[in-house]
Symmetry: C2
Subunit: 339 residues, 2 copies
Amino acid sequence: MSEDRRLHVLRAIVQDYVRTSEPVGSKALLERHSLGVSAATVRNDMAALEEDGLITAPHTSAGRVPTDAGYRMFVDRLSGIKPLSKAEKVAIQRLLEGAVDLDDVVGRTVRLLSSLTHQVAVMQYPSLTRSTVRHVELVPIGGTRLMVVLIVNTGRVEQRVVDVGRDLAAGHEQVVADLRSLVNRTAAGQALTAVPALLQGALEQVDPADRDIARAVVSALEDALEEQTEERVVLAGTANLARVGSDFPTSLGEVLEALEEHVVLLKLMGSMATLDDEAVAVSIGAENPYAGLRTTSVVTSTYGPAGGLGVVGPTRMDYPMTMAAVRAVAHYVSTILDT
Amino acid sequence: MSEDRRLHVLRAIVQDYVRTSEPVGSKALLERHSLGVSAATVRNDMAALEEDGLITAPHTSAGRVPTDAGYRMFVDRLSGIKPLSKAEKVAIQRLLEGAVDLDDVVGRTVRLLSSLTHQVAVMQYPSLTRSTVRHVELVPIGGTRLMVVLIVNTGRVEQRVVDVGRDLAAGHEQVVADLRSLVNRTAAGQALTAVPALLQGALEQVDPADRDIARAVVSALEDALEEQTEERVVLAGTANLARVGSDFPTSLGEVLEALEEHVVLLKLMGSMATLDDEAVAVSIGAENPYAGLRTTSVVTSTYGPAGGLGVVGPTRMDYPMTMAAVRAVAHYVSTILDT
DNA sequence: CTTGGCACTCGCAACCCCCGAGTGCCAGAA
DNA sequence: TTCTGGCACTCGGGGGTTGCGAGTGCCAAG
């Protein structure tokens, strides 16, 4: 028996099942694929594939359906990544180039990805572990309060109001100006993760009389840095989960719940990050560590220095197309964010 | 026949139907409510209520179900707003007080509201039509580029990078400083909507030699102001849509789609805003102007100067409880944002 | 206006039965 | 050894039928 032909049969089963969402039988296979052998032979092959755990029969007298392992085999060895058409690539690029700011880039990206794949798109906010401080601004806002604004090189901004316990109205402008200058000299251009330590060092240089103000500002900055390091995630296309003919018989609620657990999605994208940039990672069904996503497949890639994005859909998905879309979108987002 | 008793019957039907989600018959009503009359009398009343379009029978030999008009009558005349318990109020307040910034307030609020009501919570970002400019910061960021940061009194921040077409590296610090000072004198404390006109006037005062730089900055600011006026909306609890025993037989997808159309939600909250602050508005089923929400009821209230928040759920919802939760959350958010 | 009684209506669940797609296996051919 | 045609078998699902019971509308009497 030809090992090779068996894999052809598996590929044909996956393709047909993805197309029709109905279990595929030996006869139906012969009609749509020219395998050059008879139905009986195909049946033997199918029996072998079932023995290997790659396909399964939902009930005695129905066709076969790929198992998670079957999809895995398909993705790893049987399918290329179907490249997108020139026109699609251009459309993606145009759409993303029209974004006006970071929020807009993220928003457009998830919507684009969900409409390309007809699935739920997930995107991690540009990761900031490798981000640097671009500028820190201190703005007195009346009374004893001071607004601390942190601007990160990716364009994100975080602000905090601190009460410095001393009236800044008159005569203290210089204190604030000095402090602004010191903080910027210390932190500008530095990695977010390195800044807290540097600031602590810089505190030494402050006139002891103003040490309390400086301490309050530094504390607010540390808080803001913490917030920036805390990752966020954005979704689009959850309505696709309820599409007619969708899978997720009963578990739709579980999937929605899992998607609301942004922490889960972040961990997932983190753990799936591949060594190779530009590569696409796929997690199929029960391979997935999170219970709510056991009936789904997740296709992710990375963008920029350390961001993740991808889609969540039924295990019965068009992997070549989805992987191509995820890869292409990740690629274009990377180039957009690079500028 | 007593008009009064008929309304009692309607109320009992709504309450039972909300509890059991099954059509309620005359006998079942007698068991759970002491109406002091016989089943036959109740049947006569039910026939009259059906005649009036307040209830309907899904099929000949089943109990009755309230129509949209029936729920409307219930909400307007038959149910109070069940006040929350002291403990619940304290819990709400504690939770919201723990928020660290505006994003966090919004995030906590929607999650809180969705878990209180077990429905989808919707919250408009604090509306900025009445917001004012707190401060504008100009930061040269190398080469010919300048970052313009707009800080609004609600704490939101928007930034833009503009290319001023002239190298700012050396000797031009003063130009930037002057411009910063001018812009702040002009815009600080002014309503966002008034600022563009004021800035155009201020342009006159700029040295013609630097007019081009000023124009670029003003243009970026106008863009940022536009963005701030553009309203956003945040959701939580979409998983509740798929709860077991949920309604939305087939239309779940439509509802999810409608929820992704944030513009629709914003319009809805805008149109439902009541004259009376603190009041709760309810839009029931087909009263709703948006097709995707024809099978849902929307309960909203306003917070702060002009924000909206609320929940979207099945028409068969516990109106007294939901209205109480929405009202209470809106109230506490208002007080939190006031500080 | 209310009440008890009674005939009637239908949705629904259970049941049955049949059909056909699809299988596994076997004996013979290549 | 591998492939093929044939054949008996399995079983899920669709369609028709039936019985049950909840619930109704109406009526005549209180």
